[in-house]
């Protein structure tokens, strides 16, 4: 079946503009994660959705970052008033469930964001 898809694959924006990044998880996966990967760095957790529970927003770096998950499926990560330090690859992942330790996360290919 189809894996996790993300769009756009690349996004170049000017400093100060708002951007929206989209993630389509694997069908049936109730858990969805957003991570940020800066050049040469590891994965930085941003936000986690599990079913109808309140999302874990503990990784969002500032109030310019927000995310929604509509209908328990598609998610949108929004970055307002983008800054150059926001430039990174934004990765989305989904899993069957989030609470159990061994629920494998399947990653999408990422959106490469460049803020000029």
């Amino acid at each position: 079946g189809a894996g996790v898809s993300q769009s756009p694959s690349n996004k170049v924006t000017e400093k100060g503009k708002d951007v929206e990044l989209r993630c389509d998880p694997i069908s049936g996966h109730t858990a969805l994660y957003w991570y940020r990967q800066s050049l040469g760095q590891g994965l930085e957790f941003l936000i986690y959705f599990q079913g109808n529970s309140a999302p874990d927003k503990s990784g969002l770096p500032s109030d310019r970052f927000s995310a929604e998950r509509t209908g328990g499926s598609v998610s949108t990560l929004t970055i307002q008033r983008t800054q150059q330090e926001d430039s990174a690859v934004y990765l989305c992942a989904s899993s069957l469930a989030g609470g159990g330790s061994a629920n494998e996360q399947y990653f999408g290919p990422g959106t490469r964001l460049t803020v000029t």
Binding site: G42, L91, G100
Partner: protein, 112 residues
């Protein structure tokens, strides 16, 4: 405070050699330790994972060694091949925690 420390940052190995990547963690509540492989332009993909009730897990040429008392775990790639050239991430997850905590990654280059 970095909860999962990974080393080395980069590694060059000759074809047929053994690649070893190490990770150390701090949170004793972690109970699931996966390794991910990431090729350029792709998202990470699960390679192999271990729970702390075993000291070793092997899948083909890939082995995880786990030392609970030292809070360390490592990935061994036997008979390394050029196709193994990628970035490898260790991670750790606690029970009932949605997020995984990742190491900073190791870029492996296997020379033919």
């Amino acid at each position: 405070q970095q909860q999962v420390k990974q080393s080395p940052q980069s590694l060059i190995v000759q074809k047929g050699g053994i690649s070893i990547i190490n990770c150390a963690y701090e949170n004793t509540a972690f109970d699931y330790f996966p390794w991910y492989q990431q090729f350029p332009g792709k998202g990470p993909a699960l390679l192999i994972a271990i729970r702390p009730d075993v000291s070793e897990k092997k899948e083909g040429r890939f082995t995880i060694s786990f030392n609970k008392s030292a809070k360390q775990f490592s990935l061994h790639i036997m008979d390394s091949q050029p196709g193994d050239s990628a970035t490898y991430f260790c991670a750790a997850k606690a029970p009932n925690a949605g997020k995984s905590t990742f190491g900073d990654g190791t870029t492996l280059t296997v020379k033919p």
